[in-house]
């Protein structure tokens, strides 16, 4: 997915060292503006309604639609005025920047207000985050982050490394992993610059090294965001590691939506896809990422042995809550700077309610 590819390039999410220490400095700046509101109490905050603006990448992406739903529910509960903005389809800084600029001026005239931004590029959006903070608008990141998180109040995101590890566990289960036996696995990725891919793959490899010595990662390839290329890559592997041979392929980890689609169709064409009723020997177990409803449908058919799902609704909900707490209490107390939400593993056997809860919504 386009969003996935670019979104991930933002995620230099390991650089949080000392962030808390600097955070107070940032607060000094933003509180200047807040103090001018007066001897603010909870009462005065409720007198003037809090406005929280979300600017995301591609509004039409079910991932963000779900995030919107979570944020909206929380905003209604807290009596917060929610502004939701984003380019309908393009996940790109060039379309996001003008929106951010416009939203900042809007927020300046409707204080108390906060900005929650899912930057489409860590560097390109940095100046606008700085600008918002200078203008006295506390700023939060969601899903992806700017390069310098010091002045950002809080960053809520999915835990990609944990998700990768969960994928390894799910794949081992699906292949019926037994110690002492050998398993060949291939990994379909999008591009070497997609940081979510890299983090998921690192988590996957670490888990394999730790728990599954019998699993060998025999191939990895990039789809460059094209499901056709992903299909072609996997087609090639299925031929090379032909079934029945000693080097047969036992499992595939499709690290994002593009590869999930390419892998599912390639397995189907080769007659190697598992079904809801059976995934016997000679079939290839497939674990995918992201609970788009097409993926969930394939999960229910058994073609996916498991899907690793993020929780965009919760990301949206927590972001609104953090913004509300910050504006109400004028301090970061109780607000974690970095919140990584664990990804969940969905399987064909997951209860329907769980599947429904985690399936990304459509408009």
């Amino acid at each position: 997915m386009k969003r996935d590819q670019v979104r991930s390039s933002s995620g230099r999410r390991t650089r949080f060292a000392g962030a808390k220490a600097v955070l107070s400095g940032a607060l000094a700046v933003s509180s200047l503006a807040l103090i001018s509101v007066g001897s603010a109490t909870a009462a005065s905050a409720s007198a003037k309604k809090i406005t929280v603006a979300f600017v995301v990448g591609a509004e039409a992406d079910p991932f963000f639609i779900s995030m919107n739903a979570g944020a909206q529910a929380e905003a209604t509960k807290l009596g917060v005025n929610l502004i939701w903005q984003g380019n309908p389809s393009q996940y790109s800084p060039s379309t996001q920047i003008p929106i951010v600029q416009q939203v900042i001026s809007q927020l300046q005239s409707s204080k108390p207000s906060a900005l929650v931004l899912g930057p489409t590029d860590p560097k390109a959006l940095q100046p606008y985050v700085n600008q918002a903070i200078k203008a006295g608008i506390p700023t939060f990141n969601v899903d992806s982050s700017v390069a310098n998180l010091k002045k950002v109040v809080s960053f809520v995101t999915g835990n990609n490394a944990q998700g990768g590890a969960a994928a390894a566990d799910a794949l081992a289960t699906a292949m019926g992993y037994k110690a002492g036996k050998k398993y060949n696995v291939a990994v379909g990725m999008t591009s070497p610059t997609a940081t979510t891919n890299v983090l998921r793959f690192q988590g996957f490899k670490a888990e394999v090294a730790k728990k599954y010595p019998g699993i060998k990662i025999v191939a990895e390839a990039y789809s460059q965001s094209s499901p056709t290329t992903a299909n072609s890559n996997i087609q090639g592997w299925l031929t090379k590691y032909s079934q029945g041979s000693s080097t047969a392929l036992n499992g595939i980890f499709a690290i994002d939506g593009t590869n999930a689609e390419g892998a599912a169709s390639a397995l189907q064409a080769a007659g190697l896809a598992c079904s809801a009723t059976s995934c016997g020997s000679g079939k290839v177990a497939l674990v995918g990422y992201d609970a788009y409803n097409t993926n969930v449908a394939l999960l229910q058919q058994g073609i996916f042995a498991a899907l690793i799902a993020q929780d965009p609704a919760k990301e949206g909900m927590l972001s609104v809550l953090n913004a509300y707490n910050f504006l109400t209490h004028h301090k970061v107390k109780g607000i974690k700077h970095l919140i990584t939400l664990p990804n969940v593993t969905l399987t064909p056997k997951s209860p329907a309610a769980l599947l429904t809860k985690y399936t990304y919504q459509t408009a």
Binding site: P62, P227, W237, S265
Partner: protein, 339 residues
């Protein structure tokens, strides 16, 4: 410049001699491309014999079918001195619209669904080709800009319609891309037939003649009374239509309409045309060269997968191939000894 050419031209007119026959073969881009293709194929097969297996050849033909129609349309466009950046986005958008249409038609018989789906894909492609022509003729955009605009619009519309996820899942359609006649599926055969007919039209018909003439000197063509705008419109409509058909093929291949299916493929198609010996400024192209270019690009990507080479190397390999082809073309032009 002209003087130098005339001196070389006269001695080469004694064409029958065996020495000059051999020289012509080496100077012939199609022949050299074929040699390169065989060499690359042999290299990959030597590396892993599975590369020459029936199954892998089938895989390659599927990949080739996904690429070649885009490259064929692009050959016509480039022969006129233009460029069509929208073919990739068009194929994705056509696949998405076709998939949505086919989903709605699902209660009807399979052949009705596929037939109408194909027509819808074609229609989307033709529509985008027409928009390209309108942008060029009436908004006065150069082809690069006009087709860049439609590329962005097509890719964006695909995402708007689908929210980024594949639509109209129909895994039954995948069986259509399975080999039926030897290593060829039915769509493969249709695609190859279209390619052959397109080659005949490019090189032996009046339509092809004007295509090259416009790329060579559009003023001269206008002066003899040819409606250049109308011809260019047809050329971009053709390119769009072939991209639309590619969208249908990708739909069958993936079993759904995928919004990002065509992203970036215009560059691979253009690479095939350039490797095939076409001149980007127009007037000169060979459809056989384009086909060989597409064959080479196809086996290079799949060969690198089979070899398990670092996937980043694929792009490097394509870049090297383009550089070699362009150098060869420049050298050949410098000597002008081939014709």
């Amino acid at each position: 410049m002209s003087r130098a050419v005339s001196e070389v031209v006269s001695p080469s007119s004694n064409e029958g001699e065996p020495a000059s026959w051999a020289r012509r073969l080496v100077g012939n881009q199609q022949f050299m491309l074929f040699v390169v293709f065989v060499a690359i194929f042999a290299f990959f097969t030597f590396n892993d014999s599975v590369f020459a297996s029936v199954s892998e050849i089938g895989n390659n033909i599927t990949d080739f079918s996904t690429l070649v129609l885009l490259a064929v349309g692009e050959t016509f466009v480039i022969a006129t001195g233009g460029i069509d950046l929208s073919v990739g986005g068009t194929s994705g958008f056509a696949g998405v619209v076709g998939a949505i249409a086919m989903e709605h038609l699902a209660p009807h018989g399979e052949w009705v669904v596929l037939g109408v789906g194909t027509l819808v894909c074609l229609g989307v492609g033709i529509g985008i080709g027409l928009i390209n022509a309108v942008l060029m003729h009436y908004a006065r955009l150069v082809p690069f800009v006009a087709t860049l605009v439609t590329m962005g619009a097509a890719e964006g519309m695909s995402l708007v319609l689908t929210g980024g996820a594949p639509v109209g899942s129909n895994f039954g359609a995948i069986t259509l891309t399975e080999p039926k006649i030897s290593v060829f599926s039915y769509p493969d055969i249709i695609i190859i037939l279209i390619t052959v007919v397109a080659g005949l039209y490019l090189h032996y018909s009046k339509f092809g003649r004007y295509t090259f003439a416009i790329g060579s000197n559009s003023f001269a063509v206008r002066a003899v009374g040819v409606n250049v705008r109308r011809h260019l419109t047809w050329v971009y409509v053709l390119s769009g239509a072939l991209a639309g058909l590619t969208g249908m093929f990708i739909y069958m291949r993936l079993g759904s309409g995928a919004p990002s299916a065509g992203v970036g493929t215009e560059l691979v198609a253009i690479a095939a045309v350039v490797i095939g010996g076409a001149r980007l400024t127009g007037g000169s192209a060979q459809l056989s060269g384009t086909v060989l270019g597409a064959m080479i690009l196809t086996i290079v990507s799949s060969g690198l997968i089979i070899m398990n080479v670092s996937p980043n190397f694929n792009q490097v390999a394509v870049a090297i191939l383009i550089a070699l082809a362009a150098t060869f073309q420049a050298l050949r032009k410098g000597s002008r000894a081939d014709v």
